[in-house]
Amino acid sequence: MLEIKDLHVQFNSRDHEAVSGVTLTIHDGEILGLVGESGSGKSVTAMSIAGLLPRKQCKLSGDVLLDGQDLLHAQRSELRRLHGRKIGVVFQEPMSSMDPLMRVGTQIGETLRIHQPDMPKEERHRLVYEAMRDVELPNPEETYRKYPHELSGGQQQRAMIAAAIVSRPSLLLLDEPTTALDVTIQAQILELLKKLNRETGISMLFISHNLNVVRKLCKRVAVMQKGKLVETGTTEDVFFRPQHPYTQKLIESIPTRHGKEVR
């Protein structure tokens, strides 16, 4: 279980807090949606969970607890042991998020190499193939030896997901993982995430500014505006009985074809 309590993030170069007072809980096995307009602080929230914020350039306060362990103020070395092992991250641009000169299979197995350096190579390969099968990458043996530029965008994102889950973390942070993909691929990736969640019970934080996507995937959703959490609730409640005017505006801005359906 991940608990965020009164999280504040202030970049030294900014006047306003990027995140001001966010309190959130992600239960075990849950997919929580996080929506909000551009610049509302969704990525910063996720990055502070993942410990990826440049600590020298910002002030952090509050608590981020993963199964009771403090992530926000943990030592760097301690965080590194959690990275990839307990928390997996998938970013928006699969192409640029992958090392262009490293074989796809090696990248997928990287967390295993880092966190279990004594693991025999054969075992590592077996786990990589397993993860590749989990994310439904075609021809695992062949794909293992390919380089990122030889994969399609959808396959790249599948490989990124495989790399994030290969060490079987308990939490997966997905920062707009489908935004860069076209609609059909996007739908496939959403199906995949649902399946992974169902089969492995991994909890997920799914960030998106597309409410429709969130509605398909998440039971619970949180809405952010200007660094603040304005509304949290079940997807049903937030969509059909939005409490906050900002949420109402977000819902209205969904294209009408879907808008009718929503109302």
């Binding site: 990826l52 928390i87 991250v89 998020s97 990287e110 880092i114 380089y147 990124m160």
Partner: protein
Amino acid sequence: MKYTIRRIWMLVVTMLIVSFMTFLAFELVSGDPAQTMLGTEATPEQLAALRHELGLDQPFFARYFRWLGGFFTGDLGSSYIYRQGVWGLIAPKLSLTLLLALISFILITVISIPLGVWSYRFVGGPFDWLRTTFNQLCMAVPPFFVGILLCWIFGIILHLFTPGDFPALRSDPGGALRHLLFASICLCIPRIAMTVRMMRSTVIGEMEKAYVRTAISRGNDRRQVLTRHVLKNSLTSTVTFLGQTMAELVGGSIVVEQVFGIPGLGRFLVSSISNRDYPVVQAIVVLLAFWVVLAGTIADLINQRVDPRLRLGGGAK
């Protein structure tokens, strides 16, 4: 493999074009070599005889291909001044210059790559200005000045070598190498500074890329991010840069050979130009061009090994 063959084919074509342009250019500027060699008092019979001896009575293309073949057979005609075979004159000097370039290149590579990566540690730190200043100093000081300084300290005071008196490579290889080593130090200093600066900015640029964030999110520490990901990604620009350096080293050695008194190609080229010894100049020009094109080709072939994206059909992207 296909790429390798294509790249070598490109090298051959480039060299053919360069050699042809050179031959044509010298054909136009050199006038009548027989006249030049014999002077104004020569009789027409003497001129005709020499022209026949030099093969000047042959048609242009026949002469071109004979000369081109000379690069493989070693018969590049004879010098107007020394009345000797050009190849025999150039070869010992060429080997000295290449040796100087090679020593310098090795020094540059083994010193600047670790230094470049290491200097990344200081980015934004309190001593960064010191590093920048030192780096700029190294680039700004002209090699001939460093050369004079080195000659004075290590030659005149410490007697580690005798400036101006280059020992023969055959009889005293140790002494010759020592002499070359000091010359190459002087040749290297600004280039090491340039390479370090280039590496540093490449590493800084790579560190900003998204894959670095991914690497961190997987649990790599700073050192692992560098060694596993960033270094390899910085390699192609470094190799390209070093390829250019390799090419420029030969030209850059002219001044240094002068200061240290090394009887290399640079000095010979300068004196041959002022003597209008065209067959010699012509051969050196082509050899230097070949050196430049070869260095670029080798750099490209290495890069294509490193970066699979360069192996795609077009070679671009």
